[in-house]
């Protein structure tokens, strides 16, 4: 691995870039929700309050961290970095400034499935490690919800792979680029199910059941404070970006699009612009859905996933298998 690769992974378009996107997503989320609700939203830090999420993060990181007496110290202290690692590692498989990602492997989609599962597992471990009563209930809900959305999420992820005959995110993006047809048009149901399952993975309304603030305070995050809370919140925003980027790559062609120039550097910029446009479109769809809906109950969510979305995802996969 040379210095350029390392810079790509750590700075651009790797970790630093995606963390920056996480802050922008947080700001956009708050701003969109505020506008939809007839409010103003963040205003003071930076132009239009765009630096508010950054300020919030550094505020949390610099605050005192309280570790509960009965908490599992090892999990409680080392869990947040591991939790952060899951979406951070996942993002390096997303093509941003080209049709190929920083790291591209023929089977990287399988690794992404592992990342998604690991993220939920870490949330569960963090919650149990904190040994709080609210957290205990939240983890029960989290696992039930995970058991609900996992299957439709996987099936809807596999559908584009079947269409592209590739198990790599870069391969799927390249296939969409060469055919010129986004998979959202070939598998619209899968796209919708992926967005809904992403809402559940991200614990956003109507699936914010494991962190329902009016029932169980902050869910599995209740006992966290200071530095660990800052990282947990940053991780949730990074997962937000990661899942949106995944949806954009698998269904909207990711960084692909009509190429306007032959200069390599300019080509990179054009790819980046396509990627960001699609990313923010997906983001805005998720913001709008989560603002416009109320929270449902856990058994209603599970029923939705098992009896409606899983059969629909299977039907879509069947159609794709017949049509391809």
């Amino acid at each position: 691995m040379n210095a350029l690769d390392l810079a790509e992974i750590l700075l651009f378009p790797g970790l630093t870039f995606f963390v920056w996107l996480a802050f922008v997503f947080d700001w956009l989320d708050r701003k969109t929700a505020a506008r939809m609700q007839g409010r103003i939203g963040p205003l003071v830090a930076g132009p239009n309050g765009i630096l508010q999420p950054v300020a919030d993060f550094f505020k949390l990181v610099s605050k005192e961290e309280i570790i509960p007496e009965y908490a599992d110290k090892l999990v409680f202290e080392w869990g947040p970095p591991l939790f952060f690692a899951a979406p951070a590692v996942g993002t390096i498989f997303i093509p941003v400034i080209g049709l190929s990602a920083i790291v591209s492997d023929p089977y990287d989609l399988l690794f992404i499935l592992f990342v998604l599962a690991f993220s939920t597992l870490m949330a569960g471990m963090l919650g149990y490690g904190s040994a709080g009563r609210y957290a205990t209930i939240a983890i029960g809900r989290l696992i039930v919800q995970y058991a609900g959305f996992e299957v439709p999420l996987l099936i809807s992820l596999i559908t584009p792979a079947v269409l592209a005959r590739s198990l790599s995110v870069s391969g799927i993006v390249a296939a969409q680029n060469s055919s010129g047809l986004w998979y959202v048009f070939l598998a619209p149901l899968s796209f919708a199910i992926f967005i809904i399952a992403s809402l559940a993975e991200l614990e956003k309304a109507p699936f914010d059941i494991p962190s329902a603030k009016t029932e169980i305070v902050a869910g599995w995050m209740t006992e966290f404070s200071g530095r660990s809370l800052g990282y947990v919140k940053l991780t949730k925003n990074l997962s937000y970006v990661f899942l949106s980027a995944l949806a954009a790559s698998l269904f909207l062609g990711g960084s692909s699009g009509p190429m306007l120039t032959h200069i390599v550097l300019l080509q990179n910029i054009v790819y980046l612009i396509y990627f960001l446009l699609k990313l923010f479109v997906i983001g805005l769809v998720i913001f709008a859905i989560k603002t416009a809906l109320a929270r449902i109950r856990i058994e209603q969510a599970t029923r939705l996933f098992w009896t409606i979305l899983t059969p629909l995802a299977l039907i879509q996969l069947g159609i794709v298998l017949v049509l391809r």
């Binding site: 929700a33 939809m36 609700q37 007839g38 409010r39 009563r133 209930i137 029960g140 809900r141 309304a205 109507p206 914010d208 059941i209 329902a212 603030k213 009016t214 029932e215 169980i216 305070v217 603002t291 416009a292 809906l293 109320a294 929270r295 449902i296 109950r297 856990i298 058994e299 209603q300």
Partner: protein, 405 residues
Amino acid sequence: MRSQTSAGLTQYSPENMVPFGPVHPALKEPEYFKLILEGEKIVEVIPRIGYAHRGIERAAQDRTWIKNVYLFERICGICSFAHSLAYAQAVESILQFEVPKRARYIRLIVAELERIHSHFLWLGLVGYWTGFDTLFMWIWRDREHVLDLIETITGNRIHKSYATISGVRRDLPDNIIEPIRREMKYIDERARYYKDLVGSEETLLARTRGIGRINSDTARKLCPVGPLLRCTGIASDVRIDDPYAGYDEIVPEIKTSREGDVASLLALRTEEVRESARLVLEAMEKIPAGSVKLNTPRSVPKGEAMFHIEAPRGELFYFVRSPGGTVPERVKIRTPTMANLLTATAMLKGQTLADVPVVLTGMDPCFGCMDRVTIFDVDKSREWSVRGEELRQFGINYYGNGKKH
């Protein structure tokens, strides 16, 4: 998980007990509910009340009749006018005052405006408690229109200091009819919109339909008041059953619903908002000219009176006894929340933890109102403080040792 003791009481292991309050994001006032869970399902609710006890009834015995109007207003930050109105009317009936007709109409107008503001506040909170923040933000923005109107009329948004013994403290401002017409039209429109919204938004319906359902038989046993009673189909409203202020001439129409669940409470309260807007408009059309208050004597003759009115949350009782002098001997208050607490506890059993905030709010609780009452209520008969265990025992006995339900 559950075991029977020799006394036949059900004992619960502490791991299944989830404390709900006294400090909890869903409760804006301190109150404590022990919830015993089996999984997500609630099998037992043990309320422990008294956290917001302020000793207001005792304080009233040291203040003059007129000062007490403002003291009782402080009982509740939402239905403050209802409290001062009930107290003023109780004192008026000891004094045998005939309140000027214009004052009675103005009282009706402000009371109905307060009902709109209280119901909107509650609707918004249900949005908040079901995780539907957008509904909360929208309704509270519309509530500002009513608060502005109340401020124009009375000079204050929340603690109006408007009612007084023998009338209201000042006349309506000039040219108030136009703003009232405009705002009431707006409120009516919005209430209609929210009625459609709460009846059609699927995620909200999933959280409210069939939740906390009680039927009219249970309601008759547990004696809830206000919308909680009316949502079971029992048409009971003090404004019609025992008219006060201007309600003998401006007659409201009782809205009821048969479902008895939280969804029907939502629809019912939007209906009541529309009815209140209509009442305000009708009263503005028919309001007579004249004075708005009489001269009030400093001392009140010996006697006692009880008065009940329909506060936004339901029937509000005031009992006033005068020893003949400048201060009351005893004032006893029973607020709607006190009457509704047992019903809410009954509604919670069998629901899931996710439903607790929604069902508890379903009764529109005002613990600040209630707590002062409870302590005095029990003090009167015996010397004991209300402990959760005893209330639970009371509940068990009430239900025939758990066999009936």
